[in-house]
């Protein structure tokens, strides 16, 4: 596909996006922004894909932005909404986090659906230390995930959390040995292969969009997506296979 800021491959049926190393320069982030957007549109058509993994080519690949070492403001030119591009993926996204996960890197991880972190990783939202605030969703996604109290501590106090602390507040789903994050994430992706691909997309939509509505409205969204699945072959395949105690073969139709 001719990407320069990312690489993308299908591995064991899973979509693996790898962020290539960058020094946070505006031009590199611009490429990353456009390439993530293009990829989001393309993989939406991959009906068989159940799950996407977002990883970095080296530990610390999710450590960049205001408040991180070596960051330089570019008169606002460097402000690319990378997390918003991640949020466009319609399949569930697993963030694979090795090393430090700071600032805009953490904002990208927050736009993923679940997060797996290495034991020696640290997580922080330190933009305040550079006299700024999160600009890529951090002030919205962090409190919705970990609650206001902990979010304030991180955003106002530039607190750095270790992996265990992050796990305790729900910021990450799982902590594993350094170097094991991708393997663990692919293990989850393997389990997801047993699921219907359309069901996976619709369940993500029902949950994420539903949380922005009243409960009554969310229940209607759920019902609409559920009955849409009634029209699919995958539903028939899933239920008849279960009753016949066989493994289903989902086609994404």
């Amino acid at each position: 596909m001719g990407f320069t800021a990312i690489s993308y491959e299908r591995r064991e049926g899973q979509g693996v996006i790898t962020l290539k190393a960058h020094s946070g320069q505006a031009e590199q982030l611009a490429n990353l922004y456009y390439e993530l957007g293009q990829l989001a549109d393309e993989v939406a058509w991959d009906q068989q894909l159940r799950v996407i993994l977002l990883t970095a080519s080296e530990p610390g690949g999710f450590c960049f932005g205001p408040g991180t070492a070596g960051w330089q403001e570019n008169d606002g030119e460097g402000r690319w909404a990378l997390a918003e591009q991640i949020a466009r993926f319609d399949k569930p996204v697993i963030a694979v986090l090795e090393g430090d996960v700071f600032a805009q890197g953490l904002e990208m991880a927050l736009a993923c659906d679940v997060r797996i972190a290495a034991q020696n990783s640290r997580l922080a939202m330190p933009q305040i230390a550079a006299g700024l605030m999160p600009f890529d969703g951090g002030s919205q996604r962090l409190p919705r995930l970990v609650g206001l109290g902990k979010a304030m501590e991180m955003i106002l106090g530039a607190e750095v959390l270790d992996a265990a602390q992050a796990m305790a507040i729900g910021l990450v789903n799982k902590v594993v040995a350094p170097g094991d994050c991708l393997r663990t994430a692919m293990g989850w992706g393997q389990k997801a292969q047993a699921n219907g691909p359309l069901a996976m997309r619709f369940v993500k939509e029902a949950m994420n969009k539903g949380l922005d509505m009243s409960l009554a409205q969310g229940l209607r969204l759920e019902a609409d997506l559920y009955f849409l699945l009634h029209t699919t072959q995958d539903r028939t395949e899933g239920i008849t296979s279960f009753l016949a105690k066989k493994s289903p073969e989902f086609k994404g139709e």
Binding site: I94, W188, N195, G196, V203, A206, F227, I239
Partner: protein, 237 residues
């Protein structure tokens, strides 16, 4: 109220006990149970004597092991099924119950079982309880409110993890993530549910209903709207 095929309804003072009663099928939720529950919930809502409802599963093995899939293949066409969904809107009845609901959860709590439990206000679980949501592995999604109530209870990330990996939570993990309020030994589960229900039933019922409404409705509003609702409800007691 008696004579339901799949539910046992009992009243003891101000507490109503609703038992999902298909132990031979691990209390699997089917059309008959939907209809029986719909009637029971409607009657409870209209009964000023009932101050608290306890929902439990018949038998030792399960609270409810999910929906009865055998009925799924003979479902009416989607447009009709959707119409029925909203004509007999049982989840709306659950959502709008004025009285608090306590779920007593033992054994298998799967699929619709978790979803019924999530419409309750307080969840007590036995140490042998196991929780799972297998819908996506069947090519469907939870349709008894689970996509809405689960993330609102344990957060979107943990909810997505459960659905993605199809992993069942044991009771300890359910407690850790906030899916249940308390763990009890199996033999202590019902006594604890009863004791909690009787304690709540002893409080001013207007205050109990107003408090529940303030919390539930307030979750759907901005903070300033919620604070205004709270003031109005507090004055109404």
């Amino acid at each position: 109220m008696s004579g339901f095929e799949t539910i046992i309804y009992e009243k003891d003072g101000g507490v109503a006990y609703v038992t999902l009663n298909r132990p031979e099928a691990l209390n699997a939720y089917n059309i008959q149970m939907r209809d029986d529950l719909y009637e029971v919930l409607g009657a409870v809502a209209d009964d000023p004597e009932v101050r608290v409802v306890v929902v439990k599963g018949g038998g030792d093995k399960a609270f409810c092991a999910g929906a009865d899939l055998k009925e799924f293949m003979s479902a009416p066409p989607p447009t009709q099924a959707r119409m029925i969904r909203f004509q007999r809107d049982i989840w709306d009845r659950f959502s709008n119950m004025a009285q608090p609901l306590i779920a007593a959860l033992n054994g298998y709590v799967l699929g619709s079982g978790i979803e019924i439990a999530l419409f309750c206000d307080i969840r007590l679980a036995a140490t042998n309880a196991r929780f799972g949501l297998p819908e996506v592995s069947l090519g469907i999604i939870p349709a008894a409110g689970g996509t809405q109530t689960l993330p609102r209870t344990i957060g979107a990330a943990k909810a997505m993890e459960m659905l993605l990996t199809n992993e069942w939570l044991d009771a300890a993990e359910a407690l850790r993530v906030g899916l249940v309020n308390k763990l009890l030994e199996p033999q202590d589960l019902l006594p604890a549910a009863r004791a909690m229900a009787e304690r709540i039933a002893s409080y001013n019922p207007n205050a109990v209903r107003a408090a529940k409404q303030a919390v539930r409705r307030g979750q759907d509003m901005s903070l300033s709207q919620g604070l205004r609702l709270e003031k109005l409800l507090a004055r109404s007691i």
